[in-house]
Symmetry: C2
Subunit: 299 residues, 2 copies
């Protein structure tokens, strides 16, 4: 099986206490795709400008990612500029130049309409809904959002969530969407909007899966050196959806394993700038840290 | 086996979003003792004033706690007044009236000098050291401290840590003591000061055990209603030391189990004001939540 992702491909300028780099390959769909590519075939739907370096497209293709859905439009690529302070938990956005991403109309290539596993990365929920309409037989759809859409497109997001199996949110998004400070209450509120499962991402503190019947908690992997947290959430989602697409199963045991694989990928990702660490991985290293996670919580 | 604890017995005035109560039974040694009493015999060394209600002493004794070491001095009992805002993570101290606690000279009754398991709750590290000198054959000594002593008695604390097996600190204390933001680095710094193990408590995010060779992570137990976090850290320590004293073993597997029991006790404690929830427990309820913890992290 494969996974189809719709989201952003971007060029990032990132500053952390460990360095400063311009025009790094970034974007939600990029992190997701590279991460998921270690588990399954990936179909990428996104847009870049004519300035987007061809070597980045080749890099995606070398990871086996199908870029048939990557539209190249006249203009400049989406550019995000941000900075992390010492605590590394929250990015401070310095500037966001949407460029060609501003008028992005995601279009699933006709051969991909039967895609069953779909990840709708953080874009306008109206567009996420529109993508879903183009899919003829979605079986497992996950989506992400952000505070901006929760504040400005709440009803569109609520409508979308009726058709979503798995909603991923970080703690502040879950709190804002639900109006609840307590994360368990927040997750239960979101479940009532439609999704079968909610994953609340808590940065260095790991994440929490909540379903109607159960919950599951994963600690953050203890790391001494966190270099750049950019893309951790999408890398996590890539591991989750990649593993689920590979396993072909969405029962609770598989979802739990998928969340560990997501956590493994995210923990590797933050060890270097951009996709540098993710691109050096292999299944052996991934399985090694999976076993370390098992050991980390075993008693 | 039994555990000996030295710390405070206090009367607390606590305000949280869920209510406001005056003159509640509190204090580090109280929370520790009640918690540990579900696992093992507890010997309490502390001080109260002549105003301390006799019913509180009877309550401790009904839990089987030996109060021979509870000194009653002329004057008023230690009184802490604090408030928690909605996020419930940090207590705001409104006032601290040390009263008889100010001149507390902990004295281990002569029959207890052979105590092997000792918990030094948060008091002046010079006093903690003095207590340790009174013990003839300490085998497993744990201690807690606070930012105030880290700032004002750093060298005394460093000296004490040479003789400690397990140091418990919350995240901000570990950061302040080590000068490291990263908690894993902070724990490794503290290990170099002497303790064989460090537990870093992260409030609702659970805790992290770090030893020279290994680490172990426990998530917070997901709770919808947290009523009053007062005493959670000492209740946790009571579960840890209570279980270890009961089991008579301090190998890594036992310490991990002990940490889960500590987490179980702390998660119950925050469900009600003062010791209200802790006092209603029994071993069946404790074992039930232990199994829920196991399920919470199992994959």
């Amino acid at each position: 099986m494969s996974v189809l992702v719709v989201g952003s491909v971007a060029l990032d300028s990132v500053e952390t206490p460990f360095g400063k780099h311009d025009n790094l390959l970034g974007g939600s769909a990029t992190y997701f795709s590279i991460s998921a590519s270690y588990f399954t075939d990936v179909k990428l739907v996104a847009v870049v400008g004519t300035d987007f370096p061809n070597r980045h497209i080749e890099l995606l293709q070398r990871r086996g990612i199908n870029t048939k859905g990557l539209q190249i439009e006249k203009g400049k690529t989406f550019h995000w500029k941000g900075r992390y302070e010492f605590d590394m938990n929250v990015a401070k956005t310095i500037s966001t130049e949407l460029n060609v991403f501003e008028t992005f109309k995601p279009k699933i290539p006709s051969q991909w309409r039967k895609a069953e596993n779909i990840f709708l990365a953080n874009i306008n929920p109206d567009l996420q809904q529109n993508v879903l309409k183009q899919a003829s037989s979605p079986k497992f759809v996950a989506c992400d959002s952000m505070n901006f859409w929760i504040e400005n497109k709440r009803s569109s997001l609520a409508k979308l969530l009726k058709n979503i199996h798995l909603f991923l949110a970080n703690d502040s998004e879950a709190r804002e969407l639900s109006g609840e400070t307590n994360l368990l209450k927040a997750a239960k509120y979101i479940l009532k909007l439609g999704p079968k499962m909610v994953i609340i991402k808590k940065g260095e503190h790991g994440c929490l899966l909540v379903t109607k019947k159960n919950f599951f908690s994963v600690p953050g992997f203890p790391l001494e050196d966190i270099c750049d947290p950019t893309g951790a959430g999408d890398t996590f989602a890539g591991g989750v959806m990649g593993y689920l697409s590979e396993s072909g199963s969405i029962d609770e045991a598989s979802v739990k394993k998928a969340i560990i694989f997501g956590s493994v990928m995210a923990s590797y990702n933050v060890e270097a700038f951009s996709l540098d660490r993710l691109l050096q991985l292999n299944r052996k290293l991934i399985d090694k840290r999976y076993r370390e996670f098992k050991e980390l919580v075993r008693f």
